[in-house]
Symmetry: C2
DNA sequence: TACAAACATGAGTAACCCTCATATTTGCAA
DNA sequence: TTGCAAATATGAGGGTTACTCATGTTTGTA
């Protein structure tokens, strides 16, 4: 996966590059800007990230920064979008091959573990998804991402339980997924040991919901 | 150049009045400030709320505002604290009298409904708890509140299932409660109809976890 | 009545996001 | 190669906002 372009984004004033970099030179510079932002977020959080600092660390002027990102949130949004794109492929692959209840249990359990480990290890991801409630564009992105992932899950459920009401299955899948994200956010904001317990409890709860109907 | 003698508050830099109003006059003024802030949050959200506007609407100077609140977040925090104090009493009362599984199901179901209606009706509450992820002090308050409420729930569970592992029950209660708050936030950010479905699904899921172990 | 502590004020400060006029570089057609 | 428009680069400065502080006023009380 390269290129990515990220030309425009859905509806309204969702953050998007003000101008897509078309030359090699500027594409590299945009990469440097994103890398600088990522590093700063890891160090101090996106709230404390200063645009001037991003520019300085990327070795560009403040004006260049705004040439490609309409505002501060757009940078965070761009980073978030990369995470969702990557993880969706991973999730889709993990769930696509599921054929029976046991397989679902296995795959889901592994996904939860992977996500938890990712949240623990990636300060940038953690920071970005923490700000999800406050920022409208981020919230939209997270909702869309969650919906997409929940649909993968719902597809499996429909396969396993063809007699069940499809809408109910979709609701369950969406809820279970969102609860998972909430559980992760909770788990990483408490002591490690309690976090582990909470994730384990979530997993049990979710699996029961998914498997026993 | 930092505040030397701030009265301080529980651990860390949790927001608190810089100086407690001791005179009748100032107590009234603080009330007016909070009322003004509440109205502005309801109108435009706490992010768009301007300190100057709060002062103007409360009929006080900007300096007076900062006499009692160390910063902007402290005002939001003070409002949030009122909500938690009020609701904790309500929740405690609802759960205290529960004697059997059926009673728990009844009480919990009612609590969920009340909370959902509250979230739908109260823009201030909605706004404040939305910002919970971004603001550290608010997050602490919400966590503490959630822990307290979860303890009421855990106490009931321990009464109903004295043989079960207490720590597991506490974990379950805390998780279920946090999932509930997440479900509410989710529900109010989608179409009303889908929100209703999600809340209903959460209720089913939570009740199963609470009642069936 | 005196006086210290509490309270009130608002012009001023600092920090930050973002703009824009201007300069430079690139791609490409003639 | 040369000319030129589009793309890219720059950073001083505009505008907004949270917050401070020196100064003045009110209140409780000895």
């Amino acid at each position: 996966m390269e290129d990515t372009a990220t030309p425009v984004s859905p509806q309204e004033q969702i953050a998007s590059p003000r101008r897509a970099p078309s030359q090699q030179r500027s594409r590299e510079r945009v990469e440097r800007m994103l890398a600088a932002a990522s590093a700063l977020i890891a160090e101090q959080g996106s709230d404390a990230m200063r645009m001037g600092e991003v520019a300085e660390r990327a070795g560009v002027s403040i004006g260049s920064l705004y040439q490609f990102f309409p505002d501060k949130r757009a940078i965070v949004w761009a980073l978030a979008e990369r995470y969702t794109t990557e993880s969706q492929a991973c999730i889709s692959a993990a769930l696509a091959g599921v054929g029976d209840a046991e397989g679902l249990g296995q795959a889901f359990s592994e996904l939860v573990d992977i996500y938890y480990r990712l949240f623990l290890a990636e300060p940038v991801m953690r920071d970005i998804w923490s700000g999800t409630q406050a920022d409208k564009a981020l919230r939209q992105l997270e909702l869309a991402d969650s919906r997409a992932n929940a649909e993968f899950l719902a597809a499996v459920l429909k396969r396993l339980r063809p007699a069940a009401d499809p809408v109910a299955l979709e609701t369950t899948a969406f809820l279970v997924w969102q609860m998972g994200e909430a559980a992760m956010r909770l788990a990483i904001s408490v002591e490690r040991q309690e976090g582990d317990r909470l994730v384990a409890a979530y997993k049990r709860m979710a699996l029961r919901e998914l498997l026993d109907g």
